[in-house]
């Protein structure tokens, strides 16, 4: 199985799906001639022509709302936002149009739309560094995926493109250069709504999202050296959410830490905590611990950013606390 980067895996999924289905189109700011500000779409315009791959003005509302309109009329558009933060710029179109058009019209239409959202803190500050998945988990009608490795990046994107619903696809900028084995061929898919157990263990459940997964795996390795067996769960999809895999793990371990790059209040960890309160309280030996951004905007200077973004040490300390 070839080893490729996360960025290459995303591109592979785009190319395979655009070859497979002429109704798939891709547009956004600087995606065609320049190849995308993160170079994901370089060469696609030459492969598929400038009707199916095109540059747009700086107009996030029109990009996402246009995606809804194109999806209503038979295409499967992929809209690239330059930064996940720009979902807020297009807030009406994301939440009220993509998320609610089908429902508000009694199911008359399907909306097969993918919005690609480069996420994650890279010393670019409050408006270019967020992982805003949790904001949109609250909004009905949107599917949400956050792959943590190249294989999932490819498989989940292919599933998202073939899904008949709007999917927000969060690609973490710090993962673009990470490498991993990725199956070839257009049949390789990763289903939406199925968590992956990234490492099996018995003593503690560590749920990690997106770029937190590689950090969580390192923490698990370190704790293994100290005699603790940690199970690392990567939800992969946040909507739909695979509750069962987490509940089953907690039944075994009785302890859970959630590591995420969202703000702590009403973040993914808060939802997982509430879900466990409703479904698995009797299995929890210790209170849930959340490792998340304290409720401040993301600062720009690297030294400040590093202080607020969850790192291995913070995840390790949270786990140690429960394991002691």
């Amino acid at each position: 199985m070839p080893t490729i980067t996360y960025a290459e895996a995303i591109k592979q999924a785009l190319v395979e799906e655009m070859r497979r289905d002429p109704s798939v189109i891709l547009y956004g700011e600087d995606v065609a001639n320049f190849g995308g500000i993160f170079r994901i779409t370089a060469g696609l315009k030459d492969m598929f022509g400038d009707e199916r791959v095109f540059d747009t003005p700086i107009s996030e509302n029109a990009l996402v709302g246009g995606g809804v309109g194109a999806a209503l009329t038979g295409l499967r558009p992929i809209v690239e936002l330059q930064f996940a933060d720009f979902l807020f710029t297009a807030g009406d179109e994301v939440v009220l149009k993509a998320g609610m058009w089908r429902y508000g019209h009694g199911g008359a239409y399907r909306i097969p739309l993918v919005v690609r959202c480069p996420s994650g803190a890279t010393a670019t500050g409050p408006e270019h560094g967020q992982c805003p998945e949790a904001f949109f988990m609250h909004a009905p009608g949107l599917k949400i995926v956050s792959p943590s490795n190249p294989a999932d990046a490819k498989g989940l994107l292919k599933s998202a493109i073939r899904d008949d619903n709007p999917v927000l696809y969060f690609e973490h900028k710090l993962l673009y250069a990470t490498r991993g084995e990725v199956p070839e061929g257009e049949d390789f898919m990763v289903p939406l709504g199925k968590a992956s157990i990234a490492r099996e263990g018995d003593d503690l459940t560590l749920v990690a999202i997106s770029a937190m997964v590689p950090k969580a795996l390192k923490v698990a390795e370190r704790l293994a050296g100290e005699g603790h067996s940690v199970e690392v769960i990567d939800p992969r999809s946040l909507v739909p959410f695979d509750r069962e895999t987490i509940i089953e793990s907690v039944k075994k371990t009785g302890k859970i830490v959630v590591a995420e790059e969202s703000y702590k209040t009403l973040g993914v960890g808060a939802e997982i905590g509430a879900m466990l309160m409703e479904n698995a309280l009797e299995y929890l030996d210790r209170p849930l611990r959340r490792v998340a951004i304290p409720d401040v905007p993301i600062p720009t200077a690297a030294v400040l950013e590093a202080f607020v973004i969850p790192n291995e040490e913070k995840i390790y300390q949270a786990c140690r606390e429960l394991l002691s």
């Binding site: 029109a62 246009g66 194109a70 179109e93 009220l96 508000g104 009694g106 097969p112 599933s159 008949d164």
Partner: protein, 322 residues
């Protein structure tokens, strides 16, 4: 415009007017719980513009009135069921009368937030262009809505990509209680077309023939792949913003003045003068409209409310591209 088309537009204007009058009665009598933004006074432009469409074109209507749906041929009993939140309509109680939808005639639905229509219209235009079709999109909006940022984004995008969208502004002078001259820096919305380097034209929105000619020109242009246009139809909102609006923000004299320009009797007089319409045929159309509406109201009354648990349906489609 040939006589057949004139009569067709007249019939639809008349049916729309009578339907709104009946809806207002039903709402005031508490017989339906819906919410209605009446379009009384704007039927001429709505019916005439939609008469330019082919069955396979796309429509994004605005929030003012029933004439868009009547003109497009959506059965009126469905409109009434949507108003009442009942089964038998087009959206199963999910969207009310503001989200009437009809895929087989390209009626894509309505944005609850004003100005949400513009990006959707541009997106439908993208579809048409990618597939190499010669369909067009008609996108209606009010003078007030033209101040949304989405207008700028979508019209500019449509212009640079030469998308087949015709933007039709219904300038009725009022955005709820805000008169256009206080909300909008230009006198004519069509002047904004210059900012996008597209054709912009203002016509008398109460003259169906003028509207038809202007919209037809824009539709033909879009169909040929020459890009979007902006057509502004000057008209007037003869009723309040909603059924029940106290209208304490405008004078009775102003409203009375505009009732004298009501497009329905005006077009009627013209057709009578031209002998396209006779007193007998006019009476027939009135009777036909009344009978159609009576039957539709009966159908609406006979329909059940949706089962409460269906509120959980229609969030996601279960299907995939396979």
């Amino acid at each position: 415009m040939d006589n057949k088309l004139k009569l067709d537009i007249y019939r639809k204007m008349l049916l729309s007017r009578r339907l709104e009058e009946r809806i207002a009665e039903l709402i005031k009598a508490g017989q339906v719980g819906g919410f209605m933004h009446a379009g009384v006074g704007q039927e001429a432009l709505q019916c005439a513009a939609i008469a330019t469409m082919r069955p396979d074109d796309y429509l994004l209507y605005a929030h003012r009135g029933v004439a868009y749906w009547v003109a497009r041929g959506i059965p009126i009993e469905k409109i009434l069921c949507d108003l009442a939140g009942k089964e038998g309509g087009t959206n199963r109680g999910k969207g009310g009368v503001m989200r009437v939808v009809y895929p087989k005639l390209g009626v894509l639905g309505e944005s609850g937030t004003l100005g949400g229509c513009f990006p959707i219209a541009a997106g439908a235009g993208i579809s048409i262009k990618v597939k190499g079709e010669d369909k067009v999109v008609l996108c209606f909006f009010g003078d007030g809505t033209s101040n949304r940022g989405t207008f700028h984004e979508a019209v500019n995008l449509s212009a640079v990509r030469k998308l087949p969208v015709v933007f039709i502004c219904e300038n009725n002078g009022w955005a709820v209680s805000m008169p256009t001259e206080r909300s909008t820096a230009v006198k004519d919305i069509s002047a904004r077309a210059a900012g996008y380097n597209i054709p912009g034209k203002t016509v008398d929105g109460n003259d169906p023939e003028a509207v038809y000619a202007a919209v037809k020109e824009a539709v033909d242009r879009a169909r040929k792949g020459l890009g979007p246009s902006l057509v502004e139809c000057k008209t007037y909102r003869l009723w309040g913003h909603w059924v029940g609006d106290p209208e304490n923000y405008r004078s009775r004299e102003e409203v009375q003045k505009h009732w004298r320009r009501d497009p329905l009797p005006r077009f009627e007089r013209k057709l009578l003068d031209e002998k396209v319409l006779t007193d007998e045929s006019r009476a027939e159309f009135e009777a036909e409209a009344r009978a159609t509406i009576d039957k539709a109201v009966e159908f609406m009354r006979s329909q059940p409310f949706p089962k409460p648990e269906t509120a959980l349906e229609d969030v996601f489609s279960e299907s995939t591209a396979g």
